[in-house]
Symmetry: C2
């Protein structure tokens, strides 16, 4: 008998039959004596077709107005689910972002939640209602509609779960949990029973795509366990939680890969203070996010500087690199968009040595050359040629003992 937050993604509410399926899952939990708050995404495809409509008017539609338009997606699915539940005899009621007091910054299209009032949610669940909240949306101080960016409904769900002090936050999606590797690439990938918040943060940022990374940050901050599970079956999924580190953890809990980055190398950069600042300020001013940055050891007071950017920003970043490179006297600017980032992640690394060495050995055995390396306390990432990405994932998955038992 708890207070359960359930979030359903776009494919889970993709049509009226699926909405009925979602309603049945909610009813099951409600009838078991729980209080239920539901956070919904827009029906799958809805957001994309709204963006497409806006882009027919202008390639760069006004961001405030685009948010007004996009917010209709979750408003629609929330109303349809409420109508479904009420028609089945259950006391549902929908709330939009501003009605649920999801207060955000005014960064339209990518707003951050600054607080969740949730007074009305609390009143309603106290009165026995099933509350359906439109995810992905909030409002700023002035009352303007804002949206939270791709996957923002996950963040809505966790922030609301924190605000109402929920006992559990269940994220229903079209996959049945977090896997040790992408099952499309590595058929021996296993579903992970539970994963630490920190591991999940590393895995989300590396392309696991199941949870919006900001939702995991909030879940970690307020210690809200997230249960990631399928909306199409009843199986247990993956618990994302604070894993007691006294328990023996596996050294590596997952292998991820990302082929959506490109590398730029600025050759023989003068070794002077302020050079890196010049380059990365220009890149940042263009709104391009840099991931890895590697500077080779100085020789003759000169360095090579390599960094990776999203593939979609490769051309823009190259032309900025060339312009700044010329100014600072670099000998050449090289680019490569056929790269992949392969990473191993695991909280176990905190107490195990030799993970990096093992990873390099495994890749060497497969004759895969490593062109960049970056590490965190619980992750090691290598940039390799794109064509070796899947081979590398499978080899690392086997070598670190992650293959499922036959």
């Amino acid at each position: 008998m708890g207070l359960i937050v359930k979030k359903f993604g776009g494919t889970s509410v993709g049509d009226l039959d699926r909405i009925r399926n979602v309603a049945n899952r909610i009813i099951k939990t409600y009838n078991a004596g729980n209080k239920v708050v539901v956070i919904l995404s827009a029906m799958s495809g809805a957001t994309d077709s709204l963006i497409h409509m806006a882009e027919k008017i202008s390639p760069t539609p006004d961001k405030r107005e685009l948010d007004v338009l996009l917010a209709t997606g979750e408003q629609t699915s929330a109303a349809l689910l409420s109508i479904t539940l009420i028609s089945m005899g259950y006391p549902a009621l929908s709330l939009l972002g501003h009605q649920a007091e999801v207060m955000t910054t005014c960064a339209f299209g990518d707003a951050r939640i600054v607080g969740v009032g949730a007074n009305r949610i609390k009143q309603l669940i106290h009165a026995g209602r099933i509350v359906i909240v439109a995810g992905f949306q909030g409002c700023d101080e002035e009352g303007n509609i804002t949206t939270l960016g791709r996957g923002g409904s996950d963040t809505s769900a966790v922030a609301i779960a924190a605000a109402i002090n929920a006992d559990a936050c269940e994220i229903y999606t079209d996959v049945d949990g977090i896997y040790t590797a992408d099952p499309n690439v590595c058929e021996k990938a296993r579903k992970i029973g539970r994963v630490d918040f920190d591991e999940m943060l590393e895995m989300a940022s590396l392309g696991a795509k199941v949870l919006q990374i900001r939702s995991v940050e909030i879940a970690k901050k307020y210690n809200i366990p997230i249960h990631v599970r399928s909306s199409f079956n009843e199986e247990e999924g993956t618990m994302v939680m604070d894993v007691d580190s006294s328990i023996e953890s596996p050294m590596v809990s997952g292998v991820t890969h990302n082929i959506n980055e490109a590398r730029i190398t600025i050759k023989t950069v003068p070794d002077q203070p302020g050079i890196a600042s010049k380059i990365f300020s220009a890149i940042a001013d263009a709104g391009i996010l840099v991931d890895m940055i590697i500077q080779s050891s100085p020789s003759n007071k000169q360095n090579d500087l390599s960094f990776t950017v999203p593939k979609k920003d490769f051309n823009a970043a190259m032309s900025i690199g060339k312009k700044v490179g010329k100014k600072i006297g670099a000998t050449d600017v090289l680019g490569d968009s056929n790269i992949a980032k392969v990473s191993v992640t695991g909280v176990g690394m905190r107490s195990h040595h030799g993970v990096a060495a093992k990873m390099f050995t495994v890749l060497a055995k497969e004759n895969i050359n490593i062109s960049m390396i970056s590490t965190s306390e619980i992750r090691i990432s290598c940039i390799i040629e794109e064509k070796y990405a899947e081979l590398a994932v499978r080899a690392l998955h086997t070598a670190f003992g992650l293959d499922k038992e036959e």
Copy 2:
């Protein structure tokens, strides 16, 4: 250089090209130095397809949730028009009903406006912005989304015009004004240059369909002249205003007809106090609106009682009539759904005699039998057989001198 409210209906914003056309009309007014507030309907067909979707879930979708769903229609068109204007370099900004402080009763699906705050609208127009308000929607005291019923955007427009003390309220629609009769029925119908609020109230309720009747009530109360005109050409339309009655008015300014009613007659009702109350209370309890009520003169302490109801409610009203008829000892209950109501309207009737007599004579000449008559100070309505409706409209139109000049 005034403050102009412009309202555009669903066909005016039916696709992106038409939205651009609307944007151009707004820009023309804005560039002439006016402040502009725009009220929009949903794109044509949008509201119907949302209702259709809800009715696929339940034949009687929850009214509060249906309003949440329907409100997305105007939210979409308002955002798209703002995006269009901004992409053309104009400082537009959209507001939803609650952001424009359109406060209503909580009668979901048919809410009444109780007040319009409009503080944000005033601030924005003061700052030079073009404000685009989603019509048809408001919010109740609790912050729930409400809608104003079919044609509600007209009412939004006039109420907002009153709240901001606008110099003019222009209603753009797919017809180019108010006509002396339905041009589809009477090819000699003329566009009326101006019509009094009271005349328009009578004509709206009789089926002129151009303006939601409540918008005219508000316009009359606050003396806001409404200019009804086409969004597809630049011609002057019809001014709905307080017509100075010292000016000589034509006796009859329009002929209207309505074929969406049905008649029920309860035969030989006992002439006792409380009988009418019993019948009409039962009808009202079923949510059925009664239009005309006629009671024949008493003979032998017994009356015939006839009344009209909307055709869609005919079956329900008949079964109530039969049930109550049996209880009160009526001899029979008869129904006829093949009827039409034909009316002549004009403020000139206040000072002219003989309009009724002339109307009856015209109908008699065409061998059209009148089964019910009702009158107001400025209107005479007759119930006739449906098949004669168009003939009656044309004959009356000619007889009262309304035919356009060749």
